[in-house]
Subunit: 398 residues, 2 copies
């Protein structure tokens, strides 16, 4: 039988990363293409203990239906925590617990975006979000990145030319895939311009806690006295992505619509996981845990930098500075074709993600690829970088 | 600030059940309005044991990112299990694990329904699904119910008049809210008519395992040699709703689109829960567990029938026969206004859901209300039914 699909999904393709994942699942390949937390970063023992107690003493709490808005104590604790640590949240704001931060992007877009409206986004940007915007028939308008965040002139220009711009999607900290962090000055300018042009801001902050050097910069949402920023947070990078617990902080009216949409989408987020996140935040030393994560990843990041210096720099590969997160963004030497290089890397049995996968228009020229350093072991990282160097050699010989 | 919401969500309201839940949360009220499994129906000890072992021996499996399609062993086991027990699934079908069955309705609608297309559905029907269809700007066309399922003439008439009918939404077993089960003959006719008119069938089967009397009837999907039925199943009523694990079985092409949409919606379903469901199905005697559930609910159902016979029948309340599920569907005596009665019941501190909440057009006349018998304790059920009788008396005196 031939099926007639809704127009909104006809052009949707599985993301390029997913295709590369098929190779990455083969143990003969070294995957530098994922975005998974390091296995040693999971607080497994503490979680096992909390879970055992929960299922022994209050199984019905963990297993019964719950409310769409989320587990009350988690919502209350997060509200206070985000206010204290990031100055996020005002009286006009509320909080919604979601099934991972990805659901924040989806519910916000469903609530706000009319088909044909424009989403302004950083170019490159996180492919999972871009594909979701596309599934609501958004027009995507990419704003190029400088080393300190979006190019502000280009942003203002886009605000002027994109008459149906509805919101800006930004990952201000250690952006995926570029690793770039938006400076404090640019955050202020972005906020002021969004306000001036009547455009909302969707601020996605999955990596904010994973800063390895440099000074803390408050989120754009911390500036929000006007109710124009929706902030997305997640436990995926700091407790567990398998649990799928994220949250949205934003104006009550917007969250009300998102809550009704969520009711139709999955009723509520897995309640065992919500209770686990709440208890982990409140019963374990959460700050010490975050500090430990930063230690693990700082070590991995330094190893990657050393390896790139040793094997890739001599071959003309460069990379943008990155103060945190899970990714390095590398540029090929002039004249090397990205698609051909990605293919050669696969032949050398190492998986990277070509930068084109993160562009609003995949046919635009791109010289960059993304390396993840959180998932591979130290030995895999070393072997992977060697193979990447070899792939370059091989390519140039051709 | 005033927000401009997408047209698709402007008219969306939280479901009437949600509003009633606010009262139901007050311990002074007896709630007969929920749809929660009985607390004693949760296999808490077995789950605690499986979870402890999982988090001790394979924490990374439970905590790391997983694939959008779902946990491989669960998909493989369910595929075999559904084929064996229900003759569900052919070579052209595939399986997708979802965050509760509710997500099946959402992903299917997003993939298939163009704005303005018609969804044919039983009238009354499950409000959560109806609201989700509405969020894609579906036109809902209700088909009235007979005691053995949808009225077939009305269904055929709707197929003829609704030129943009895209799919039929049906809950053939112990339907929510009516408790009605579609006969084998009607399932065959529904399938044949859907095929004839080129309309897909979305078959939602949350209560199929909860039959307390009468003979098993195979799902509509068991007839599907043409790839026109999408089957939605769930662990919510047989293991735990808090876990949010459901599944879809349907034609590969449709599931591919749904998978891409799911990737944008929540990446994947909570993997701890998926592993738990798999291990519970394969390491515990699942058939014995289902048998035990049926014992628990048969007892509750009989108690409700006795109580209704004793307190409500003398006042002229009638109910449709129901062979399974969690709900009774009661009709008020002629001349009693449903809205006024629901209000009086609230004043008597007992919560029911008025039948209007389940109609495609809430302004249509309705004399019925829904009673849930799975959630209250025996004592609460008795007191609740007494209060419902009192509310009727009170109303008639007015």
């Amino acid at each position: 039988m031939e099926y007639k699909f809704a127009e909104r999904v006809v052009g949707l393709k599985p993301s390029a990363i997913r295709e590369i994942f098929k190779y990455a699942a083969d143990p003969a390949y070294i995957s530098l293409s994922a975005g998974n937390p390091a296995p040693e970063a999971f607080p497994s023992e503490a979680l096992a203990e909390i879970s055992a107690k929960l299922l022994r003493d209050e199984p019905i709490l963990a297993l019964q239906y719950s409310t769409t808005e989320g587990y009350g104590p988690l919502r209350a604790h997060l509200t206070e925590y985000l206010k204290k640590t990031h100055n996020v949240g005002r009286d006009f704001d509320d909080i919604l617990i979601t099934s991972g931060a990805q659901q924040v992007m989806d519910l916000f877009t469903k609530s706000i975006l009319e088909e044909g409206d424009t989403v302004l986004c950083e170019a490159p940007s996180f492919i999972g979000s871009l594909n979701d915007f596309r599934s609501y028939k958004a027009k995507l308008a990419g704003v190029p990145m400088d080393p300190d965040g979006m190019n502000i002139e280009a942003f203002e220009n886009a605000l002027k030319t994109e008459k149906k711009a509805k919101f800006l999607y930004t990952i201000p900290n250690f952006q995926n895939p570029s690793g770039i962090t938006m400076s404090r000055e640019k955050r202020e300018k972005v906020y002021a311009l969004a306000k001036q042009y009547g455009v909302l801001v969707l601020e996605d902050n999955p990596y904010g806690d994973l800063r390895y050097k440099g000074d803390y910069i408050p989120p754009i949402k911390s500036l929000d006295e006007d109710g124009i920023v929706l902030y997305a947070g997640t436990f995926s990078k700091v407790i567990s992505p398998g649990m799928r617990v994220g949250y949205a902080v934003g104006p009550k009216e917007i969250l009300q619509k998102m809550t009704v949409c969520k009711q139709g989408q999955d009723v509520h987020t897995n309640i065992w996981s919500q209770v686990m996140c709440y208890r982990f935040m409140t019963e374990v030393d959460f700050d010490a845990h975050l500090e430990n994560l930063r230690k693990i990843y700082t070590k991995k990041q330094r190893l990657l930098l050393d390896l790139m210096e040793q094997y890739l720099a001599p071959k003309g590969v460069t990379w943008d500075p990155f103060d945190g997160g899970l990714f390095a963004w590398c540029h090929l030497p002039a004249g090397v074709d990205l698609a051909a290089y990605t293919q050669r890397a696969l032949e050398q049995k190492v998986c990277i993600v070509p930068g084109t996968a993160f562009l609003t228009d995949e046919s635009e020229p791109c010289d960059a690829f993304r390396i993840n350093f959180s998932t591979p072991t130290d030995a895999q990282l070393e072997e992977g970088i060697k193979r990447l160097a070899r792939a370059l050699l091989f390519l140039k010989e051709k």
